[in-house]
């Protein structure tokens, strides 16, 4: 104050410095409805003296100066222009003059066009109601400010609202356009919210916010029912479609999941009977009447046919060798001739391979099986069925080898690197000349087999092909000794002829054609008959002695073979011999087995 006492006017009354007033300043002019407007000014320093303020205005296209018609309505330091004094789209040049005793001061002029200074009043009657229609939400509704005339279109208002919780910092704003209500969704349950609304003309300023309106959301659990309903309906629909599809394709589904199990295809086998559970009847059709021939063992017991290999040939069994033998002989077998596994040379080999420890026995023979070898059960059987055989005490299992040697000069057939399985062939020759046997007997030893019963598997018709080595050392010529100079010769069971005769062929036959070819061997052994105890009686050729042989478990073997290998019926293939059949031919059973009832003492 003192610094302003430039004029150094010092009044005695006030004892203070006074001066002319400061320039007032027009702060703003506003029109709430585009029909009236108000201007406010800010008075400056009054200079210490009572100062009056006057507002003067001038319209743009005239020089006439008017004074403010109303200083009161709008309050202190304001000027209110009523409807009559308000014109749109015309510039008002407004000034405020401050006057006091010492002078006056004029504010800077302000150009005002009422059209541009529209700022409506706040909306009124804001209400917020919780609606529980589809999930609780808040419906906020309000009314336009009283003064605004939107009805005629003179003013167009746009509304805006904002929501927040008491504690929140940020407001959530929503634009409501020209409508006077708004639905607020996704408000948190069990919370209190405050709502405010404001409005704006199409070209103008925003109004002030209304006073907050409070609304409390109820406590509820959001149940997104509609989504779950849709999901449920959809899944039911899918399930129905799947069920219907499955129903339609019932048969093919059943075929896919439960493929039909092939039934047994045994001639004469009745499945229905099997299902009914009467096994006796089922198998009765398979049983051949009169087979096995119920002939006493004693009648059939003949001496074993002993077959010796050349002891020089190392025919010690060896597991490895066995496999080699088996493999080799297997490879040598002919697939096409039908001899197959039943006719295999290595059948016994394989069999013995399993059960055999491999002992170097001087009685090594190859035995040729046309059928499955003795299994463990068979081995015992085989054992047991050789009561009369002196060699049986060795524990050799007598198998059913169909071996017969042709009366050829003794020479050994050497199978390269073949270590054969040795089987003992029950002697079929008369025991009367045991020592002369070597040349006459074919003995097939099954050695060490009983001990390996457990290891005895059923190589079945598939596997073992063992050579039957026979000492074809001149059956005609009596050999001096048995063991040392026994010569063995291989005989191969080639086929079973239609008369169910087992034709053997010595492998050492020079005339022997390559494997697989059908050839008529000169030398062959025929199965004369099968005994009741499954002994195969071999028959030599016409000019040979017939040799009986024991075969063990022929039937069972054959049967097993049959059952095990349906596609390969165990029929040893024997080639028809040119030399004709012996007189005492074998009687062929209906089921392919030779009839052992026909005995022929051929020696």
């Amino acid at each position: 104050r003192f610094s302003r006492c430039d004029a150094l006017i010092y009044t005695m009354v006030l004892n203070d410095c006074v001066s002319a007033p400061d320039k007032p300043r027009l702060t703003s002019c506003r029109s709430p409805e585009k029909e009236t407007f108000t201007c406010w000014w800010e008075p400056g320093d009054d200079g210490g003296l009572p100062t009056t303020y006057a507002l003067y205005y001038r319209l743009e296209n005239s020089e006439t100066v008017y004074e403010c018609p109303d200083y009161r309505t709008a309050g202190e330091n304001s000027c209110f222009f009523n409807k009559n004094d308000t014109s749109l789209w015309i510039n008002y040049n407004i000034t405020v003059v401050a006057t006091n005793a010492l002078g006056k001061n004029i504010s800077d002029p302000v150009e005002v066009d009422v059209a541009y200074i529209v700022q409506p009043n706040t909306p009124e009657n804001v209400t917020a109601v919780v609606v529980d229609d589809q999930g609780p939400f808040v419906r906020v509704s309000w009314e336009k400010p009283r003064t605004a005339d939107t009805r005629s279109g003179w003013i167009t208002l746009l509304y805006q609202l904002r929501v927040k919780q008491e504690k929140d910092k940020e407001w959530e704003e929503y634009d409501a356009g020209m409508q006077k209500y708004y639905n607020v969704f996704s408000l948190h349950p069990d919370k209190e919210f405050m709502v405010q609304v404001r409005c704006k003309p199409d070209h103008g300023f925003w109004s002030e916010w209304t006073q907050p309106t409070y609304v409390k959301m109820p406590d509820y659990i959001p149940r997104e029912r509609s989504l779950w309903i849709i999901i449920t309906i959809f899944s039911i629909f899918i399930i129905l479609i799947l069920t219907w599809t499955l129903n339609v394709k019932r048969n093919s589904v059943k075929l896919c999941l439960l493929p039909p199990v092939p039934g047994p295809k045994i001639k004469g086998f009745d499945k229905q009977l099997l299902k009914s559970g009467k096994s006796e009847e089922v198998f009765s059709s398979l049983v051949i009447q009169g087979f096995p021939p119920t002939i006493g063992y004693d009648d059939l017991l003949v001496e074993y046919l002993e077959v010796y290999d050349n002891e020089e040939q190392e025919l010690v069994l060896d597991s490895k060798d066995l496999s080699e033998v088996c493999m080799k002989s297997k490879s040598l077998s002919d697939c096409d001739s039908g001899r197959g596994s039943c006719d295999s040379r290595t059948l016994l080999l394989e069999k013995c391979m399993e059960g055999r420890e491999g002992s170097g026995s001087d009685q090594h023979q190859y035995s040729q099986h046309g059928e499955t070898s003795c299994t463990s059960t068979e081995s015992s059987e085989c054992q047991g069925l050789e009561p009369g055989s002196p060699e049986s005490s060795d524990g050799r299992v007598k198998t059913w080898p169909v071996v017969f040697s042709s009366p050829q000069p003794h020479h050994h057939y050497q199978v390269e690197a073949v270590k054969p399985v040795y089987h003992s062939v029950p002697e079929i020759l008369n025991r009367s000349s045991p020592h002369a046997m070597p040349t006459n007997y074919h003995q097939l030893h099954h050695q060490d087999i009983p001990q390996q019963e457990g290891r005895f598997s059923k190589p079945a018709c598939r596997h073992s092909q063992s050579y039957n080595q026979f000492n074809l050392d001149g059956l005609d010529t009596p050999a001096p000794g048995v063991s040392p100079s026994r010569s063995l010769e291989y005989v191969e069971v080639q086929r079973v002829n239609p008369e169910n005769m087992l034709l053997l062929r010595p492998l050492s036959d020079p005339n022997r054609e390559p494997e697989g070819s059908d050839y008529a061997g000169e030398d062959y052994s025929k199965v004369k008959e099968v005994t009741s105890n499954n002994i195969l009686l071999l028959q030599r050729d016409t000019y040979h002695q017939c040799v009986d042989d024991y075969s063990q478990d022929l039937d069972s073997q054959a049967g097993q073979c049959t059952t095990q290998q349906p596609p390969h019926p165990c029929k040893p293939v024997i080639y028809q011999s040119n030399s004709g059949m012996p007189q005492e031919g074998m009687r062929v059973m209906g089921n392919g087995y030779v009839d052992s009832t026909v005995l022929m003492p051929s020696y």
Binding site: E60, W89, A115, H203
Partner: protein, 210 residues
């Protein structure tokens, strides 16, 4: 007689339908026109703000008075009471007259905008072009409205614009540009107001909007 009365009835029904359909169409037309005019005014306001951002203070002193606008001779209602008394077709013709009066000046502004001595002359240029397009659209729309309203006479006021150049020097060019723009801004506000009044008058079926 029955035949004649039937014919009369059919014609009346057809006319009612026509009027009803026309009314609806008129309402939509006016709605669309209001939107265009609103856009027009918003554009002009933003242009004015762009110009004001870098306007030399000396230019303000040089600014011609608003009464110097070439459309100031047009008699228009200045307040609400006057405006609400004006009949629709007159309001429409006022709006159309104003609009027509600005075709040429905006073309001039367009041509001069690119060479304006203003840092934001690119934005100004593009907005001016947009302004021109909008005016053309609104003109066409208002002509449709006029046709739909079925006024007998087309009393459009002629408001000629004789200025071919905004000025030789940069400052005067800028100042004149600004002045023209301000005139246009005001006139666009008038057009917008009149059309919105018309809109509310036609939209008797939508009282909630007005």
């Amino acid at each position: 007689m029955t035949q004649g009365s039937r014919l009369y009835f059919a014609v009346a029904v057809l006319m009612c339908a026509f009027v009803t359909i026309n009314g609806v169409v008129l309402n939509d037309l006016l709605e669309r026109a209001s939107q265009l005019s609103d856009k027009l005014h918003s554009l002009s306001t933003s242009l004015t703000n762009d110009l004001d951002s870098h306007f030399p203070p000396v230019g303000r002193a040089m600014m011609p008075r608003p009464s110097m606008c070439h459309t100031s001779s047009l008699q228009i209602p200045n307040d609400k009471d006057q405006a609400l008394k004006v009949p629709e077709d007159e309001l429409l013709s006022l709006a159309r007259s104003l609009l027509l009066a600005w075709s040429d000046p905006l073309a001039l502004l367009s041509s001069e905008a690119s060479s304006l001595a203003h840092p934001e002359h690119n934005t100004i240029n593009s907005k001016t072009k947009e302004l021109q397009d909008n005016i053309n659209s609104l003109e066409a729309g208002l002509e449709h409205v006029f046709n739909k309203m079925g006024s007998t006479s087309d009393n459009l006021s002629s408001l000629p614009f004789y200025i071919n150049s905004l000025g030789q020097d940069k400052t005067s060019q800028l100042v004149n540009f600004h002045f023209l723009l301000s005139c246009f801004r005001r006139d666009s506000h008038k057009i917008d107001s009149f059309l919105k009044v018309l809109r509310c008058r036609a939209a008797k079926k939508r009282p909630e909007m007005c």
